[in-house]
Symmetry: C2
Subunit: 443 residues, 2 copies
Amino acid sequence: MSFLQDVVDILLQYVVKSFDRSTKVIDFHYPNELLQEYNWELADQPQTLEEILLNCRTTLKYAIKTGHPRYFNQLSTGLDMVGLAADWLTSAANTNMFTYEIAPVFVLLEYVTLRKMREMVGWPGGCGDGIFSPGGAISNMYAMLIARFKMFPEVKEKGMAAIPRLVAFTSEHSHFSVKKGAAALGIGTDSVILIRCDERGKMIPSDLERRIVEAKQKGFVPFLVSATAGTTVYGAFDPLIAIADICKKYKIWMHVDGAWGGGLLMSRKHKWKLNGIERANSVTWNPHKMMGVPLQCSALLVREEGLMQSCNQMHASYLFQQDKHYDLSYDTGDKALQCGRHVDVFKLWLMWRAKGTTGFEAQIDKCLELAEYLYNKIKNREGYEMVAPVIKARMMEYGTTMVSYQPLGDKVNFFRMVISNPAATHQDIDFLIDEIERLGQDL
Amino acid sequence: MSFLQDVVDILLQYVVKSFDRSTKVIDFHYPNELLQEYNWELADQPQTLEEILLNCRTTLKYAIKTGHPRYFNQLSTGLDMVGLAADWLTSAANTNMFTYEIAPVFVLLEYVTLRKMREMVGWPGGCGDGIFSPGGAISNMYAMLIARFKMFPEVKEKGMAAIPRLVAFTSEHSHFSVKKGAAALGIGTDSVILIRCDERGKMIPSDLERRIVEAKQKGFVPFLVSATAGTTVYGAFDPLIAIADICKKYKIWMHVDGAWGGGLLMSRKHKWKLNGIERANSVTWNPHKMMGVPLQCSALLVREEGLMQSCNQMHASYLFQQDKHYDLSYDTGDKALQCGRHVDVFKLWLMWRAKGTTGFEAQIDKCLELAEYLYNKIKNREGYEMVAPVIKARMMEYGTTMVSYQPLGDKVNFFRMVISNPAATHQDIDFLIDEIERLGQDL
């Protein structure tokens, strides 16, 4: 136990440093340097607990401080103390979500939390089903799997050979996981039709309808439209009402990938951007992104109850004994592709208790206000787009801040600024702009 | 920070109690009771930190003590202090495995650890590839996905419609995830052919060969044999050498599901049970089972390098910029179906440093010795098989110990005794036998 307390002391120091703007975000080393910097190898003989503590310190020395107020690199940033505590409790409880028997509290909390999320989506009384899955890509894949099963349940036993050629639709700015899912499920990436976006990155509904009609004329069966609420690069929201109308007209499953934008449902001021989501058949929503829950925490919500279970169940008799002495509907394991499933709900549940819905709302409103602040600051400045990779390399070496860059379509490389860290302030935004200009001034 | 320390104090108490044989394994309540026992709902308004601490205590009060020496219910049991500390560090670092840029140390440790595991499998110099995935079911699904891609790479773009009807083979005692994977990948569960087992639960190679020939005659294409090293219920090891010969003869991908039995590779005394695994094309090995690493920690190992990447990559330009300033082969994200991927390696790596290979070996040898002890104790006793569910219900209510039961084939319900908790002793085994007899004595 004194060993565990020693590790906790190291971690508490690290956490304090993560929030200290005078420390670096990253102490960058190239992979080969880092491999040589320390002996990371696995040996036959044990190390002492003293050495294990040193391993911990060294690991943290080279880690990226993702909670640092000047870390803007990914959609998941920030470090919430209640979320961290909840994750520690989850580790200590060390159990698995497949049955009520071995995770009674966590199974109930998943039930309570998913129902609440479905209420916020706008499904009457929070009706429907859901699961926490290992990330948004898997949640999107689940949606595709369930949509296919709903239309052609025989696919489960007979495979794709027994059903017509399916096609799915998503915008050209959508997340790559839609294509990954199609590849994995045996649908094929060619059967994911990319719909054009307007200049703000939103799917153009008339192009969607045109492509659906075209696909049907070719004899394909449209089975899924994956709309995006918060695209990965622009943060754009597809027009969900218009898309819902089209899905209804052509009887197509409507999925909303709200991995990034789902958090806006917490905000009375901003949730209008998701108007129409209540008409979706399924929704991906990652609290580990805009809501700042520690990784990983991604929910797939499905409006029709029972479908996940029928789609994925295999009735393994060693887990889901039908003669158990309690209500079997709490054995959620057969809804998932996974057998064992990590407990991801507790972090979100405990943070929600600590902040209340209003706390998440305030956090999200603040991030959107900061984004607007940044936009106003830089809208009249341009010219450093061309040199983004060079500035990025310098930024990593200085370690003072961290932001991602990328090209998109006909645009050259530009910085993709993610604002979701509750610890970031106006001053951090100012610092970032100054730093980018400082690092690029001799280019 | 004082809040975090308060949570740690609660957790340390819980951990100490987990190892105390005089405490119950479980304080069982039926789902509706538990829902009413406490207010678990999510509200608009925040709770105080005092209330949050109370939430933590209540959650642990009703949790199953999976680390308790008398918890024999699942394949994942036990609670390792170094593993727990490592998981806490992972939570504090709160990052994602997709790029070296945001997880430099963890990406390197995954590289070091997977190479070591491949060495133990017996691939020359630890060659090949791999990934930590969210559980054995997903690892097995990956193997199927990669095997299909290797034989028919066009499936990625064109889907199953463009390729012949595939069939996979696995034993009738194999894990249900093989069928789940086939359903998800659009292959269909009917295309998973179950091979007969002998009376000890091992796949019969002559039946495998017969069914392969039969499938080919029907025009199907055999693409995968999933052999099991450590079946879920009997703990049987399929004859890998004979299976490897057949796979070679018919040019079929050989996968070994060693989710449970992979840990035996650590034991010089027992690893002969996996002889032939070095001829596999892919291996699933879950350190969160027999090796006692906290959940989740499952590795998929693939002998051919580059295949995972070609199979799953989508080249998302916002993550995997090709003009980065470091060696891109460390950006592992595009090998996975997931986009974000939880850091699962650190627990295993740190435990391996703390125990050394010899420490894992001793732990596994001890579990197998205990299993033999149990076998010798009960081999001459029978008769309580018929009443397993009743005894189980009583056991949960008393909360003194926990073991799973299940039927299999023509066998009625029997207790499935899992020995993988390093904290269990001969006395705990004696206790279990006595307890089962005590709980059943008036039946």
